[in-house]
């Protein structure tokens, strides 16, 4: 086993699958010689050649269309969208086309595309780089949406995503890229899509989170522990489809829930989770389910992003509200 950052684990997953399946192709803007602007594809072109790992012209809609076309030729495309804020440029390819490939063809064709893309706040990017747009993706039937919170999961989830025969949007939180290391096995392994993980066990309250908010939730849980509150943290890992069973099981255990997302409050993943919980487990609830989310503005211009982004203090505050309800 090796100690890896999340970005190293991602590179390792790409290398594993490029080796494992000759149909896997990695492409996008600056992913070749430059190894991607975050170095996620570092060394892959040198190792696998320009045939398998290549730069495209600068057009996200072109990249999306290329991926769909390549998949009809039996390839397993793993394109990169340089920053997920640019997804609007490729929305039709994603939501209008690849998500509907299986459906439109009457289940005779499919698009085994995995779109990787960095997103997430707190790293002082210019506008359109940091937005949490996973809600847009989750609203589209036909897609799977995966967001790892740590290096181990990142490798296993990315391998599973690439092997999956339906399109997967794989979102990599920029703040997690190099913030810590994990033990990551050298061999290939899968982490099942659509399965959440209990990242921390507890009895008094359930915190449901994904991406960078898992870290914030764990930190909040550690603080709450000092006050004698035992918080369980559920890391969703896949936000579409949701692992309702794991969520409901935890809710039944604790009876109190705070759902945490970095995205704006309106029409987000958290709202969907709250709805599922009240439909399935209302009699187990001791308090209303509360949300921690960013305010309903466009992602903050950098100078205000620290206040704009939800953090562990906001989570502790909401937990106290549901405990004292």
């Amino acid at each position: 086993m090796a100690q890896m950052t999340m970005i190293q684990a991602i590179t390792d997953a790409l290398r594993t699958e490029l080796k494992n399946d000759e149909n896997v192709l990695v492409f996008g803007e600056d992913v070749g010689q430059n190894g991607g602007v975050f170095r996620a594809t570092e060394g892959l072109q040198a190792e696998f050649g320009e045939d398998r790992v290549f730069d495209t012209p600068l057009a996200e809609s072109g990249i999306g269309g290329l991926a769909i076309g390549l998949s009809t030729q039996g390839f397993r495309p793993v394109p990169e969208i340089q920053f997920f804020g640019f997804v609007y440029e490729v929305m039709d390819s994603i939501s209008g086309q690849m998500a509907r490939m299986r459906y439109r063809s009457g289940n005779t064709m499919h698009a085994p595309v995995t779109i990787r893309s960095p997103f997430g706040g707190g790293v002082h990017t210019p506008e359109m780089h940091a937005d949490s747009l996973e809600g847009l993706m989750a609203q589209q039937p036909g897609l799977k949406v995966v967001i790892p919170s740590n290096p181990y999961d990142a490798k296993g989830l990315l391998i599973s995503s690439i092997r999956d025969n339906d399109p997967v949007i794989f979102l990599e939180h920029m703040k997690l890229y190099r913030s810590f290391r994990d033990e990551v096995p050298e061999e290939a392994y899968e982490v099942e899509l659509g399965k959440a993980k209990v990242a921390r066990e507890g009895n008094d309250v359930t915190l449901i989170a994904y991406g960078a908010m898992v870290q914030a939730s764990v930190k909040a849980a550690e603080e709450l522990e000092k006050d004698g509150v035992s918080a369980e943290v559920v890391d969703l890992r896949t936000i579409s489809p949701l692992d309702i069973d794991t969520i409901v099981e935890s809710v039944k255990k604790t009876g109190r829930v705070v759902v945490v997302q970095e995205a704006q409050r309106q029409a987000g993943i958290a709202s969907q989770i709250v709805a599922e919980i009240q439909e399935r487990a209302i009699l187990h609830l001791e308090a209303p389910v509360l949300r921690v989310a960013a305010p309903d503005t466009v992602y903050a211009f950098t100078q205000a992003e620290e206040v704009w982004l939800p953090n562990h203090n906001d989570i502790v505050e909401k937990v106290n509200d549901v405990i004292n309800f």
């Binding site: 730069d55 012209p57 309903d296 466009v298 100078q303």
Partner: protein
Amino acid sequence: MKRTTEKIAEQFETFQILDEEGKIVNEEAMPELSDDELKELMTRMVYTRILDQRSIALNRQGRLGFYAPTAGQEASQLGSQYALEQDDFILPGYRDVPQLIWHGLPLYKAFLFSRGHYIGNQMPEGVNALSPQIIIGAQYVQTAGVALGMQKRNKKSVAITYTGDGGTSQGDFYEGMNFAGAFNSPAIFVVQNNQFAISTPVEKQTAADTLAQKAVAAGIEGIQVDGMDVLAVYVATKEARERAVNGEGPTLIEALTYRYGPHTMAGDDPTRYRSEDLDNEWERKDPLVRFRKFLEEKGIWSEDQENEVIEKAKEEIKNAVKEADNTPKQKVTDLIGNMYETLPSHLEEQMEEYKAKESK
């Protein structure tokens, strides 16, 4: 037989007035600029070079945020802007802050834009421009709209937009040119071909031999100019502007240039994708060096004059940084307030919530 694309490319010879030694190679194309105007062009280029150096230093000290270096591109940026009138409307990309400054954006606002403060995006009254576009190509389609609007209002002005070589691969690039062509609108599309889109060389963007020839498919005028020659860029833009306001439609200008620095200050390392030889080759074409030689030959520029400009630039930059520092810090409540004309009730609620947070 020659391929059609080669035949087309041959018609796009690079337009040049001053060679690398500052000698006039195209006498008949020389613009009628007074000595003062020529000196003003040089002043702006020198000033902008200093601004670039200071911006890079300030970024490294953590006193500026997002910054895309401009050194090498002064002739493309400022030669084209100098051909404009105040009523003309600029739609810039993220690297085109100098054009905005010379069009009237106060320096401290340029710094606030870099720091990620909304005040940096507020154009003063009379400065006709949008703030720098982050989404590659988006400004191209919008330009068609600005130009059509001017046409409908019978204005004698133009819309001018800037993108890079990489930007020409976006669908928006074609759509913008094609719309403006179809409506015969007063638009100027400038492509600053600095040879790279981050790490990707222009040869990987397209099979076309020039970017200027992309005008052909849209049925509009196209020209390739030496983007290190400020006079050539000025003349090409001036002529494009004249055609536009005379109802003769839009023009695509490809300016051949180079960025000396990294793509942005956020971790790009040009040595991963460019050779020192190539850097040197382009630095020999430097726009300031050649224009300085030309002006000195004419006897209207000296080292003393240049030093005066440099000192003035440094002083103004220092003051602008102070002004940016003294601007009240941006708050989340400011951002909430900027979302709608009238705040919906959920945002009113959030406004109160964040007011409470911010007053803690």
